[in-house]
Amino acid sequence: MKRAGFTNPWLPILLLVPQLSIIVVFFYWPAAWAIQSSFYLQDPFGFGSTFVGAENYTDIAQSIEYRKVAWFTVYFTAIVTFLSLSIALLLAVKADNVLRGAKTYRTLLMWVYAIAPPVAGFLGIMFFDQSHGPLTRFFGFFGWDFKLGVDYFDTATAMIIVAVWKQIPVNFIFFLSGLQSIPRSVREAALIDNNSGFRRFWDVTFPLLAPTAFFLLIINITYAMFDTFGIIDTMMKGEPGANPMTLVYKVYLDGFRGNDLGGSSAQSVVLMVLVLVLTIFQFRLIERRIHYT
């Protein structure tokens, strides 16, 4: 392969400066600051700070509350990822078979994607409203006295439903385009080889969707862990007391509501490491497996 070269060694650096400065200003600098402040105890009123070593980290490790939030994050992420992927896949398979009105059907499904997370959260609040919410009433029919923002389990359920609903369109679009890129003749060959539609799906269609599915799995885990902040913030209606929350929300809560900047920084460093691990895992696996051609 021919390699293009620059005659002036400063030109490539100059061209990289805008991109690099964005990364430095919005990632490396705050990250470095977070790592540094995670070793200090900040005065709540901004009158200086004391070096405390790893105490913020040991606090996290020993905190029962942190563990509780961490477990909720795990459950929340697992459930949201599983549901939004599986429902989107089901919808995509069905949409792929639709011949008439396919465009309308797809457009309607994709609309949700355009809704901002806090707005989605707000819609959720309305759906689960104590006295007027249609879903609260619906649950009431089955004798479930749904209490959003009061009952831990109910709030968690509502958060999961809204988070899943919000994420389905993205997954749907990817799955649908993945399905449509499977050659028609391969499916027809399967049609001749196997008379069970269910087995055909798992033997032929799904393995060919695996690259898409794996990519979406990573995207969805990241979404559930980090991008659901707006939904969670809106739905707990400013009362974190007995309500469930994710790790990211706790970083915000401890740092900006509780004024414990040191502890909050330590938590965000932990999250940073988690993202790093997830990214390495993604690159390793995507590079190695799941590609056929």
Partner: protein
Amino acid sequence: MAQVALEGIHKVYPNGFEAVQTCSFVIQDGEFVVLVGPSGCGKSTLLRMIAGLEDITEGTLRIGDRVVNDVDPADRNIAMVFQNYALYPHMTVAKNMGYGLKNRGISKTEIDAKVQEAAKMLNLTDYLDRRPSQLSGGQRQRVAMGRAIVRQPDLFLFDEPLSNLDAKLRNQMRIEVRALQRRLGTTAVYVTHDQVEAMTMADRIIVLNGGRIEQIGTPKEIYSTPASTFVASFMGAPPMNVLNATVSSDKHVTLDEGLELPVAAPAASSGPILVGIRPEDLTLGEGTTPFDVQIVEELGAQRLLHGTLGGQAFSVSVNKDHEAGTGTIPVSITPGAVHFFSREDGFRI
């Protein structure tokens, strides 16, 4: 192995397009039938209806003694080879070949034995653990063939299986496919737009045009007595020369431009007519009909002379040892090698 019978088969797409007009024919047990025609003639639709990949609008389809109109493709006991091979990219060659058997509840050892046997037949034994992406076009084609034969189906269906191969490989595979089908004795329906494939492989050819069957016959019948000008010009390369002419009341055949042809006019006809003469049914340097040669094409074994006869486009093919140049030379027409067609509908008179 089975006979295939189509009775009044008809296909109309939901948008109203009539892909295949009502047709009936029977394919005998063990016969190799080629459906040939230009693109859009309905040959693939017909094949896909036999496969069950396309609904049959009207008519009855029998494979063996069974009416299969509403039978799932997988339950018709057929095997199909696709144009782009349609191999499963995530499965090895062995798995690709065995997948259809696995779904019929055949034991693993039996599948392995059958796959090995087919692989041996097709020289694929060394490639059984490879993925399709690691194979060449010809090898993929063989795997697709292998997938078809391991199932020991009643019927092979081929949908332009050789058109993705280069010319040399295509000729070789053509012979291999034919030999394999002979050996197995399995009934086969083969779709192609290549008249050479049709002529060389078929026991019988079905020529389709615009969703209609133009002619059914052995390659020899199709070539020597084409049922219409369409068949005459589609089958054979270079195509048959078709000239506009008129039969006078005293049975003289005159080209529209005034040149009289020294041929016997058809008994039952007079007035405007089409005269068909194959390029090889002429002798150069004899006779009285002047042929104005404009271009000479060198084909190695043959020479193709293109020009005009009585002002109408005309080609003559001669043997390689026959010297040829441009300019006007007399030609004679082999007696009995002249075909007459109606000028109204193009059918043979």
